[in-house]
Amino acid sequence: MSGPFLAPPKIARALLLCILLIAAGPLHAQPGSVPIDPQADVASERSLLQQMPRIEGRIDIQNPTAHVLEQPDGRVWRYFHEVLLHWTGAVVILGTILLLAVAYLVIGRLRISAGRSGIRVPRFDAFERFSHWLTAVSFLVLALTGLNVTFGKQLLLPVIGHDAFSTVSEAAKYVHNFFSFPFVAGLILVGTMWIRDNVPRAIDLVWFKEGGGFIPSKHPTAGRFNAGEKVVFWLALAFGAAVAVSGYLLLFPFYVTNIAGMQIVQVVHSLVAILFVALIIGHIYIGTLGMEGAFEAMGTGSVDLNWAKEHHGLWLEEKAAKGRAPRALPSGTPAE
């Protein structure tokens, strides 16, 4: 069909060769007019950097990082670390504190509506509290020493001077490295012991719809953990896993990844850590200042019966059914 209209391949190639030879002809005709260019195969620094983010080569030094000749992205990472991270950190953390301050001023401390019954219901056993506080103390230490690396230069250094700040920061670096181990251990304990009670259920949606317990007149019921606590649980596990994995990659630099990887890992570690700090500030607020009767659950291990009724009605019923909690009570809440 199309055969007659196409030149046979051999003829086409011969024609192409002729054209090339004619084009190249003048060069061969006048040898010497074009200087020999020993650069013909050399990629200049500029063209190499246009093709790839880093210039790498071969080196004899036994060091996994030494073969990278140039990585201009270091300046990009500097921009993240010195500008973006500082602003993100300041806005997210101060924003969270501001939001909670407003919540405290507007809603105030959430009281036990029915008042205290004086009857205690066990909520967290000793091992659960140990696991929680292991995680919590490690987190606080990690958060403070971590924030020192990012904000210490602006906040603490001008106050205590270079020498003292350097001493503090070096100690903080080691503390940060070593407290990662109890933190991860605590996270694993907390994660495994509470995962069953934190599986999302249909009732969690109702809890959100009814204002999540933030409307003092409403007490949406919940199982052992309400939807808010479940959010904290799952986010803490997710953030914890992310900071742990990225943190260990930073603790073992260049074992797994190259320079670009290290920069990305640091970005992930610092951004997730800031979100984590904001989450935990909220968690601390609702567990202490924000709600009457909440702290004692993790402090002493038991809660007031009326608090349990108002916030974790289903859990209390389950417990009562198993005979582990007082059943009907001196009618704590009057029928309204």
């Binding site: 073969h67 140039e70 500097r78």
Partner: protein
Amino acid sequence: MARMKFLCDAERCIECNACVTACKNENEVPWGINRRRLVTINDGKPGERSVSMACMHCSDPPCASVCPVDCFMVTADHVVLHSKDLCIGCGYCFYACPFGAPQYPSVSNFGSRGKMDKCTYCAGGPEPDNTQAEFAKYGANRLSQGKLPLCAEMCSTKSLLAGDGDIIAQIYKERVAKRGYGSGAWGWQTAYHEGIPA
């Protein structure tokens, strides 16, 4: 005051590694650390070039701005120095440095880094010039004696140049003009925000 810079003319580098050795010897650099190193690009292929690299003493040095304890200082000659008394070995300057200059002695297991070590442009450290304390931490202070860094001083092909930035740039430009080619002043665009047209 002069603005001190390094310039490596890759067309002249013969990959002899004398600059690396000279630096290690002159400054008694600790084991496992190389303040200067030599990277070969396109090794064994047409267009192979070797480049000698160390701290470029950048304008607006990224290491100094990311340092969480503010341990860097820039001298009047624009040599970037740091204090090993303040350094906490966090490793951030290595992530920020475009040239892989900061090095850390391994002080314990895992990734624990000791005090950072890098090229001082043979200008010592914050201690008083040419004292034992200065030499132990930072190595030689040739600049205070009116001498240039030894790596460049003993480069057999004068590929590696050190000195006032304007003067070494002029030398390189003249070379490029005379021989008709050059692969560029490696690192200059990144370090000093100015290239030298090759």
